[in-house]
Symmetry: C2
Subunit: 202 residues, 2 copies
DNA sequence: TTGCAAAGCGGACCCAGGGTCCGTATCGTT
DNA sequence: AACGATACGGACCCTGGGTCCGCTTTGCAA
């Protein structure tokens, strides 16, 4: 019951800030080129409101990230196959990794901002924990596979934001190529042949 | 012939700075807890000398890193098997990855400092290029393996500093376990059984 | 030895950027 | 209408990377 509904201007400002940050991160090449002051200004709001709403820079980026991730999160937690919980484990591993890769391709700047948020390693964020737990659980149901925990980490590492950025941006690897390669890698790790494409477009 | 041999005090200071930085990074938990001023002070030297000697923070960290890496680099470029160039490709892949993992375990703080040096993604550093090229070349000689480039990236990603740090530090996974798991993962990726241990202790 | 550039030194200084303070404006409730 | 609570915003603080410049040291040469 510590719930105390926020004032209207507060929620409006919060929304404006999210939108502004989103726009700025999308527009600028490097995440650290966009400063907190920039975001506040873009939103037509004082800096203090920004910090009041999100705590600190990491909080803001996390909020953005979670918002963008929500559809996928829902699809994974309660949606139909191939992402939802009813999917057979093997197929789901492919679907999860593919969805994650597509998400990172579609949100390069934002994800880069989050993972490169300086100190806090990505492994401490709870959204990483979620993905890892999910993947690990799926892997554990695949017969003949050991080291589910480490394997999950390794597969997730193959979709790290800066790697994806490097491949997509610097080496100009096309999206479909990356998806195929990741699927093929996954198949080798799992000791299977790759399944056909499994997830919707981004 | 633009070579102009540096003065004695300059080289002494440079050495002192390297030593100081090394000590400080080793001593402190988080790399960003140690500031440039700290390092200069520890070395008994002015801040300007520090920047004159290494350009900027990244330059210093890179210098430290290269110094530490040199033995391995030599072993890889001109040493005997299993690291040297005469090794059969398949065995060499295992050896390279194991050596890299051990190196990162033995130099956690330093490597963390380098890879987490804020903006510059690790993929732009030329030492990454070297590892990747090396691994890719070895992979290309393994029959039936496609996507050598991507596979090399993925395997290297499994040894990323912050992942290693997370596993070794936070999850308390023992060193030998990690080595085994990495070898096992590699074997699955390559479609082989793991070879026996391949490299010296760190 | 002494002279004298050139190379190097160091700490005061600059600046950007994250985060806070506090007097003022707004909200929404009685 | 009025008043407490809530939020606003821009001036302000502080840390930390990086630079400036007057002074010292080095090393070559006379």
């Amino acid at each position: 019951m510590t719930e105390r509904k926020p004032r209207k201007d507060a929620v409006r400002n919060r929304a404006a800030l999210l939108a502004a940050a989103d726009a700025l991160f999308a527009r600028c090449e490097s995440p650290e080129a966009v400063t907190m002051a920039d975001i506040a200004t873009e939103a037509g709001v004082g800096k203090a409101s920004l910090f009041r709403a999100f705590g600190d820079r990491t909080g803001l980026i996390r909020a953005l990230y979670e918002a963008r991730l929500e559809p996928i999160r829902n699809a994974v937690e309660a949606g139909p196959p191939p992402l939802g919980p009813a999917t057979p484990p093997l197929q789901r591993v492919f679907a999860l990794l593919d969805a994650l890769l597509c998400f990172k391709l579609d949100n390069r700047h934002l994800v880069l901002a989050l993972e490169g948020t300086g100190s806090d390693s990505p492994y401490k964020a709870e959204h990483y924990e979620r993905w890892h737990a999910l993947l690990k659980a799926a892997l554990e149901q695949i017969p003949g596979l050991t080291d589910s925990g480490f394997t999950a980490h390794a597969l997730l590492a193959a979709t790290r934001a800066d790697l994806v950025e490097h491949l997509a941006g610097h080496e100009r690897v096309p999206r479909e190529t990356m998806r195929t390669q990741l699927a093929s890698l996954t198949a080798r790790v799992l000791g299977t042949r790759p399944l056909q494409d499994s997830v919707v477009e981004g």
